[in-house]
């Protein structure tokens, strides 16, 4: 039991330390790719809080990611914004929209919840796509990246370590929540909501709290993405982006934090490989097809996700 817990703690820490040490020795391509994967991991972890931990399948999670990114760019101004203000602003606005969406959508359940979250995400998408608020369908550029003192996101090394620290923060926060009373209640809601209500839990309040927190963490991922790319466009909030992050969580394995990270890594890696001409030749132009087929095969063969494969391969089931 304790040995299992120790490995559950040590492995993610070892991974974070390895990435942290390897950082300065990486080329631009590798470093850029890892930053992308880490941002998507945060995004996937925030959705895992809803889907895996609480049993709420949201198909509109990209809205909060996109809002976090847009707020960062819109609030930056021409001379660049203050890191210490932009980060809480991005997370705060995403959390506020999550409060609004959650308050309404959590009155429905099952497939209706999926549809309502999707509808609210589409609403956000069209606000940015069809109005001049954020430069319309072309999106908008950020001229100077967020900074405060030496913490300047224009510096690639700083960006790398800020993203890594954010991922560690998100992972640790969710790991703590999982073992807390709040996390236990969310697990109870996932398994048997009726019984939780009968025992005396304000189920709606718990779900709303989880939804808002997930929105805020997606906003964090959005802030980092905007800081990395220096540009945002409405595609960030498109429904297929919500679908992709859901795929990452399922591909990695629901109900495990590391599943979300593994899913984000695997998905991004597969996408990268399948769309590279040097590897795939002319098929690279049809990467959606090859990626889709691969994911169908994965899900069919590994119903518990990639983490299920890891568990099956390790004899003691310690992973």
């Amino acid at each position: 039991m304790t040995a299992m817990k120790r490995s559950a703690f040590l492995l993610p820490v070892a991974c974070a330390v390895a990435v942290g040490i390897a950082g300065p020795f990486m080329g631009n391509y590798a470093s850029d790719f890892i930053v992308k994967v880490m941002i998507l991991s945060i995004f996937a972890l925030s959705l895992e809080l809803l889907v895996g931990m609480t049993g709420l399948v949201s198909l509109g999670h990209a809205a909060f990611y996109g809002i976090g990114a847009y707020v960062t760019v819109l609030a930056s101004g021409n001379e660049g914004g203050n890191f210490a203000l932009l980060l809480p602003a991005a997370m705060g606005v995403a959390a506020l929209y999550a409060l609004f969406v959650g308050a309404l959508s959590l009155r429905t359940r099952g497939v209706y919840f999926i549809m309502v979250t999707l509808a609210f995400a589409q609403m956000a998408f069209f606000v940015f796509h069809d109005t001049k608020v954020g430069g319309g369908s072309d999106g908008i550029y950020m001229y100077v990246r967020p900074a405060i003192g030496a913490l300047d996101m224009e510096n690639r090394t700083v960006l790398f370590y800020v993203v890594l620290a954010s991922l560690v923060f998100t992972y640790a926060l969710l790991a703590l929540i999982r073992r807390s009373r709040f996390g236990a209640a969310l697990a109870g809601i996932r398994v048997n909501e009726q019984r939780m209500r009968a025992a005396g839990f304000a189920v709606y309040g718990y779900k709303l709290a989880a939804f808002v927190l997930a929105g805020a963490l997606a906003g964090l991922a959005g802030f980092l993405l905007a800081s990395r790319d220096g540009v945002v466009n409405p595609e960030l909030m498109a429904w297929h982006n919500s679908g992709e992050v859901l795929l990452m969580v399922i591909l990695g394995g629901l109900g495990h934090l590391r599943g979300a990270v593994i899913g984000a890594v695997a998905f991004t890696l597969l996408k990268e490989i399948f769309s590279t001409h040097a590897v795939m030749g002319p098929l690279a132009d049809h990467w959606q097809l090859t990626l889709g087929l691969t994911i169908i095969v994965f899900v069919a063969l590994l119903p518990k996700g990639l983490i299920g494969l890891v568990q099956r391969l390790s004899p003691k089931g310690a992973a």
Binding site: M196, R197, F201
Partner: protein, 251 residues
């Protein structure tokens, strides 16, 4: 009839309609500490609907429910549970993938939820853990504490159902067929438990096992088609001609 002055839970003319169907029709009854109040009746008599209204799972169409003198008719289910109205379900409603202990601990956690203390471990929660231990002890499940709940026998899951209700430290127990599917030994243990619990709890027992009902009940209410046709002590009910026709006629 009963005095309403010291009733812990009081129900007045409670009615529930589903469209054109009146599932529960003007039911009045009182639950007292120290009493097991059994509600019997054929399938579809409205017993479960009655429990669902008392626990707040569904709204009443008409009537009033008071707990300790306070009107709780419109109060949300989770608030009623926090106020001490505990229930068990006819269909086993547990957390099958959690351990037996965690099932009870989680139910007990409702009393000390502290959801903001995200740095504290749920397993380290001494209050809820102690309530869970006590509930498991009372229900005779201590030896199964570490087992995954869904892997236990049906009878043991029924015991857990009641243990989870007890873990929330309720004052009123609404038990919907707690003996269904239990063996003779388990039934005996459950009846002994109820006899002990009634000293400190007001108990409403919906049950089909008539032997058990007449053994344990201090007061029996008979429902037919949503309405109460008789209330009285077991002897009165046994000798009531209306009850005999209603029951014997149906079977």
């Amino acid at each position: 009839m009963t005095t309403t002055t010291n009733a812990l839970l009081s129900v007045e003319k409670l009615t529930r309609r589903f469209g054109g169907l009146t599932a529960v029709n003007g039911v009045t009854l009182d639950l007292h500490v120290g009493e097991v109040h059994a509600v019997i009746g054929t399938n579809g008599a409205g017993k479960s609907t009655l429990i669902n209204m008392l626990s707040g799972e569904i709204e009443a169409s008409e009537g009033r429910i008071t707990l300790d003198g306070t009107d709780i008719t419109g109060r949300a289910q989770w608030k009623r549970a926090r106020d001490g109205v505990g229930r068990s379900y006819q269909r086993t409603t547990i957390f099958p993938e959690f351990s037996v202990h965690e099932n009870c601990r989680l139910a007990a956690q409702a009393a000390t939820p502290k959801p903001w203390a995200f740095w504290e471990s749920s397993r380290g929660c001494a209050t809820s853990s102690a309530s869970a231990d006590a509930a498991l002890e009372a229900a005779g499940l201590t030896h199964e504490a570490q087992r995954i709940a869904g892997t236990m026998s049906h009878g043991a899951q029924r015991q857990l159902e009641v243990a989870m209700c007890l873990a929330t430290n309720p004052r009123v127990l609404l038990l919907d067929e707690p003996l269904a599917g239990m063996g003779a030994e388990e039934t005996d243990r459950m009846l002994t438990l109820l006899a002990r619990l009634k000293a400190t709890h007001a108990i409403l027992l919906v049950e089909h096992d008539m032997d058990a009902v007449f053994r344990i009940a201090d007061r029996i209410t008979v429902m037919v088609n949503g309405a109460v046709i008789a209330t009285g002590n077991p002897t009165e009910i046994r000798e009531n001609p209306e009850v005999r026709t209603a029951y014997l006629g149906d079977h």
